[in-house]
Amino acid sequence: MATYKVKIWRQSGPNANGHMERHIVKGIDGDMSFLEMLDHLNEDLEEQGKEPVAFDHDCREGICGACSLVINGQAHGPETTTTCQLHMRSFEEHNVSEIDIEPFRATAFPIIKDCVVDRSGFDRVIQSGGFVSVNTGNAPDANANAIPKPEADTAFDAAACIGCGACVAACKNASAMLFVSAKVSHLAHLPQGDAERRERVHSMVNTMDKEGFGSCTNYGECEAACPKSISTDNIATLNREFIRSKVGPTT
């Protein structure tokens, strides 16, 4: 059982001033997940009649992408995983007893409360073109189109993105290029995505800019912070798609 000195961002609303609040959290087992440590803190706060710290979380198995904390300066903390799959033993083993917790900050991710941010900008990027325009109904037989396995695998690697926003939080420019490129690349590698590939990349990049995300300066921090190890190769793919949309042959 370990004790941690926790400092956590408290901000009562979108326009309020925030501050780092100090807490001593006792009785933490190495098998507890990071969010269970915060549950523990929140139970203490509730018992004292104080408002618990708000943070986003849902599936707690690393797939929904809701959890979003910057832990000691790193999006999702020191390991390549989501905040919910980070365990306290990872601090215990490295004798880290002070933990600073902050939201995923970016101008395009305004804070709603405490560590909860608004990531709807990502949804709007997808709405602007991150789909295949096919209505429910009479799609051709699923095996009508053979897709080479390597292409399908590459598409899958890109499609594994969980939309958590760690790439934006980790980027000094708050760029969303890894997120946007993952979707562009997923659909660009499949024949289903071919018909709309020109408009897609164009429209998604425009929306990304409009939402106020920064530009990519190829630091690679996004890839390092990504819990699903989405590769910056996708950014090169997006760039190729972008050039193609400008100068490539119209099909």
């Binding site: 001033n17 790193q74 990049v205 995300f213 990519c216 760039n239 400008k246």
Partner: protein, 239 residues
């Protein structure tokens, strides 16, 4: 979160389009730097080659001006877009509120901060090395091209470039400035070259190993090539 005039990219470009122009102009500038270096390295040749090369350039007449204007516009485009993007990026990251500045002043480690995991030092200081190069270019033009204090060459209006170079670099401060600027340039190219290939979508599975080496190689060649001249002057290898 809609854009406003101060955080948009010039000429209605997207950030991706702007980055591509930065990459293209950067590559053009690298080519210029290489050509410039190859010209200068003729200082190591025993005879009058450097001066002849300089005179040949000078005698190009209007063509020279076309080249100069072309180079200048590439340079302005590269610098201007980079400044616009950098400002935009700072906005995207979010300025510290006065409250956050206060909190940070109390010694908080991470308020609105982030720790780097993989970004190279060169990549993090691109704008800084860029500014150093920019200032250096101005100094360099004043020093060697525009400055009227060239030592005259007997019986001709042309100048003795080789003598001028040797004379200039024999001052350790001048040589020092050049060396520092060339180190900044090498660092800039180290990240910039690889980054430009990525931005232009030229980094693919097959080119990947080459791309990361391209930056190192170009930086090393240009750095060593350019720095060798003041070093050799200072150590009297060229005289």
């Amino acid at each position: 979160m809609s854009s406003n005039s101060s955080n948009s990219v010039p000429c209605g470009m997207t950030t991706v389009g702007a980055k591509m122009l930065v990459a293209l102009t950067g590559m053009a500038l690298i080519l210029f730097v290489i050509a410039h270096m190859l010209g200068n390295l003729q200082v190591f040749l025993p005879g009058d080659e450097l001066n002849q090369y300089a005179h040949k350039l000078k005698s190009m007449g209007p063509l020279l001006w076309v080249a100069r204007i072309g180079l200048l516009s590439v340079f302005v485009c590269h610098v201007g877009l980079t400044i616009a993007l950098t400002r935009r990026n700072a906005k995207a990251r979010g300025a510290l509120s006065s409250n956050e500045i206060q909190i940070r002043a109390t010694g908080e480690r991470y308020v609105n901060g982030y720790s780097y995991e993989t970004a190279t030092t060169a990549s993090r200081f691109m704008i800084h090395t860029g500014i150093v190069i920019f200032l250096f270019v101005i100094y360099h033009l004043l020093h060697f091209t525009i400055s009227p204090d060239h030592p005259p060459v007997a019986g001709d209006e042309l100048i003795d470039v080789k003598a001028m170079v040797i004379e200039g670099f024999s001052h350790s401060i001048v040589a020092g400035v050049y060396i520092i600027a060339q180190l900044a340039l090498a660092a800039h190219i180290y990240h910039g070259a690889a980054s430009a290939l990525q931005t232009l979508g030229l980094r693919t599975d097959s080119t990947k190993p080459g791309v990361s080496k391209a930056g190192i190689l170009l930086a090393a060649i240009i750095g060593i090539g350019n720095i060798s001249i003041p070093i050799c002057v200072l150590t009297d290898i060229i005289s």
